[in-house]
Amino acid sequence: MVGKSIKKWWPVFLLPTAVAFAIGFVWPFIWGIYLSFCKFTTVKNVKFIGFSNYSKVFADPTFSHAFWLTVLFAFLSSVLINILAFAIALALTRGLKGTNVFRTIFFMPNLIGGIVLGYIWQTLLNGLLSKWGQPLLALSAFNGFWGMIILLCWQQIGYMMIIYIAGLNNISGDLIEAAEIDGATPAQILFKIKIPMIMPSITICTFLTLTNGFKMFDQNLSLTGGEPAKQSQLLALNIYDTFYARSGAQWKGIGQAKAVVFFLIVVIIALIQLRATTSREVQQ
């Protein structure tokens, strides 16, 4: 009955969102796919050239470098963030004194934007590196890469910790108590009960950290700017750079093709990851 009576009200309920969604997402997306097969500098002089942009993408050494760096970055940051966030969540669900204060402080960096975070850490890390007599972030791709890892851990551990805490608090106390009575050691409780029971949280956290790692842009731009010589460029920054920083008529089309490849990579990784971890979830 409700469905029937609101059905003809779609111009009020559905249309505003649908129109904005079409303008803000659907149309740019479809047009973007089309443009990846074209050579263009502005939207007025578009020439269809088929797959040649794509072959140039894979021939561009900066792209393959950024690709492997991003893969390494996303996996490493995801593993580190999840392990540390889970460890902190375990500690914070034991009823320690000051749990709320700790939780508040750990979550705080999430509210600060990527650009500002990048500059905060650039100041600090460059200070440390110069004290140790090491090359600064902008001069060493190795330092830049680890700088980004530290930054992303600092930013995201708190967020994942919140999700893990919620998951751990959902495990019924009876289950743990029963295991303790049966003589399970703390390690057994952790690996045989807690971890299997919070698999849904692990699924969502690895999904978030992996996709965030792959899509990271702001922090990369402000912390290292891709220096030295594009050696610390992740994929998102590489695409931006191809679009807006390189001169030459062919680069916008190549940039758009890179963006399509990037999009496919993110979707494939997300699907594989979701399948891999959801299959390990236990039925309650």
Binding site: G3, G32, L111, L124, Y159, F214, K215, F263
Partner: protein
Amino acid sequence: MESNKKLSRTIASVVLAVICVFYVYPIFAILINSLKMNKAITTSGVFQLPSADNFVGLANYVEGITSMNFLKSFWYSLVISVMSVVLIILCCSMAAWYIIRVNGPLSKAFYYLCIFSMVVPFQMVMFTLANTADRLHLNNPYNICIIYLGFGAGLAVFMFTGFVKGIPLEIEEAAMIDGCSPLQTFFLVLVPILKPTIISTAILETMWVWNDYLLPTLVLDIKKYRTIPMAIQYFRGSYGTVNMGAMMACIMIDIVPIIIMYLVCQKYIIEGVVAGAVKG
């Protein structure tokens, strides 16, 4: 056994406290540097407290606010965030109710498109989106909220549909039998029930819009309108010597309101994150 447990708890507390220092220190470092004279801010000297001869008080703050036109940026950021989030909440909650209650193939298709849009990286649409926004004159701080509605719809529709599914149909039927029009049913019956989700979604979307850098940079005219992240990047990224003191001060003015807001509505922010993740 008992003392063993006590020991491990103490160790855990100490470790957590040490990690806390790592979390607070970076912001503290920016604070102390924002109080130093510009010349005294050197790469290796960032860890030193300001001394009597390089302490300048709030001079950097005044300098930063005036040279970056910070108040204007603050205003643009505020307008964009408030308008976008209000619009997202209003339109997406209505759309979500429609999608769930009128469960036709069109609703389903729209729903799945929204989910899909959450995975797509922004670089995929950045060029075409900026162009579309220019053509439709959505390239100023007062109209950009339509772009944000389109790009933020994915998360909001997803959160709201997840919640509307759990609301028993009888409540709405009763309201309609009593003579409520669909709009009245929505605003008088649904909105009060949806309130927790509205708060959670509003917080997640605000965190995104307030800190967003790339979308406003590409869509807005950077010479006329700069949001706070754009102003900081522009300030730092421009060539020549950067006024480090003013830079640190601006970072502080950007962070302080966020931290105050966080401490005030901490409970809702953390609930919002959990709600978003559980629905996911």
